[in-house]
């Protein structure tokens, strides 16, 4: 443990989780591959009529991004919980807030952000017009960060349960409603030729609130569960 490690918990934990992710490339690519595959299935189920795809595609891409992030958030604290390092993080007198925020940032960078970056390509495959692709990607970059932040809350709540993947999705999905609404309406506003600054501002304010509230509640959850 060097002095640098002590000096900034946020970066040290972020770097630690990033390192783990890079060592296990296949596991960290899974959400992205899932996203690409399931979006590519959509035309096969909807039919390849361009007009129909155009109308459905933004919503479909948003929902699929949500699903991919949800599936990957389960792993946020899982390993640390099983090998006991989570307990170490909680009982040492450091700032859990920064630790949690660092871990979530690493999760976003490795699991969620690739989905946002791949979304323009998938959007073009589903015949979204190139002009409106930009609003989809901006929305998804902020949106996936919100997904990761809330997914962290779900992962913290379900960390000690047995079959957590479904449970996590069920408890967190209702909380995703505002993000889905504002995020997907960004691109629909753009397509309908209206100003999309309104949903963008709403999404950004949700992101700011979540960046405070999510690490706070996650540390609260961990602290209270480890008291005994």
């Amino acid at each position: 443990m060097n002095t640098n490690y002590q000096s900034n918990l946020f970066f040290s934990y972020m770097r630690r989780d990033l390192l783990i992710a890079f060592r296990r490339k296949s596991a960290s690519l899974n959400p992205l591959i899932f996203f690409v595959m399931i979006v590519a299935l959509m035309p096969l189920s909807l039919g390849s009529y361009e007009s129909r795809l155009q109308q459905m595609a933004p919503g479909v891409i948003w929902i699929m991004a949500l699903l991919s992030v949800l599936l990957s958030s389960e792993s946020l604290f899982d390993e640390d919980y099983r090998d006991g390092s989570l307990e170490q993080m909680i009982i040492t007198p450091n700032l859990l807030f920064m630790v949690v925020l660092g871990k979530i940032t690493a999760h976003w960078l490795t699991k969620s952000l690739p989905i946002a970056i791949a979304s323009p390509l998938m959007g073009l495959l589903l015949s979204i017009s190139p002009e409106s692709i930009f609003s989809l990607m901006i929305g998804l970059i902020i949106g996936t960060a919100c997904f990761s932040l809330l997914g962290g809350v779900g992962a913290a709540l379900t960390v000690a349960t047995k079959d957590k993947s479904f449970l996590l999705a069920l408890i967190i999905m209702p909380l995703y409603v505002p993000i889905i609404i504002f995020g997907s309406s960004m691109i629909y506003y753009r397509i309908d030729g209206m100003y999309w600054s309104y949903p963008l501002a709403a999404l950004l304010s949700i992101f700011c609130m979540l960046t405070i509230l999510s690490p706070l509640s996650i540390s609260g959850i961990f602290r209270s569960s480890m008291v005994e």
């Binding site: 000096s7 700032l95 309908d192 600054s197």
Partner: protein
């Protein structure tokens, strides 16, 4: 400064900054007028993308509801006070649909500048009154009655 204390300060600063951002954005969002549907004026000014499904809201013009054919097809006009738009709808209209009441039609614009509606919704009214009362108080406007 002690590293722990410095990081605590960082957290407080971060929280402060982010709450300020969130508050500012919320104020910006609330200050904007969000529109849920287009008004007839906006439609006739061409503020929509042709071919896409749109929602138009307005008051049903008195005397405009007609059934030109034998079937369920209904025609009526929605107005926002300035301009009006013809709506064509095939199906059963809801109970609360009435002339001089608000309605929202969802559909696609046709070439002849009419909205081919796939759904018509009546806007619900806040007031509940027994029928006898509305008959006796017919001369009083509905909005006046609400104040009593």
């Amino acid at each position: 400064m002690h590293p722990i204390r410095r990081q605590r300060l960082q957290i407080v600063a971060l929280i402060f900054l982010l709450s300020a951002c969130a508050a500012g954005l919320v104020i910006y969002v609330l200050g904007q007028n969000a529109n849920f549907f287009f008004t007839p004026s906006q439609i006739l000014a061409g503020e929509y993308r042709s071919g896409s499904t749109i929602r138009v809201g307005g008051m049903v013009v008195e005397g405009s509801v007609s059934r030109p054919n034998e079937n369920l097809q209904t025609q009526f006009t929605l107005t926002d006070g300035k301009t009006s738009l013809d709506i064509v709808y095939e199906g059963i209209l809801p109970d609360l649909f009435a002339e001089n009441e608000a309605a929202i039609a969802t559909g696609v614009m046709s070439v002849s500048n009419k909205l081919i509606a796939s759904q018509v919704l009546a806007k619900h009214d806040e007031n509940y009154t027994p029928p006898e009362l509305t008959e006796t108080m017919d001369f009083i406007r509905y909005s006046d009655y609400k104040v009593q």
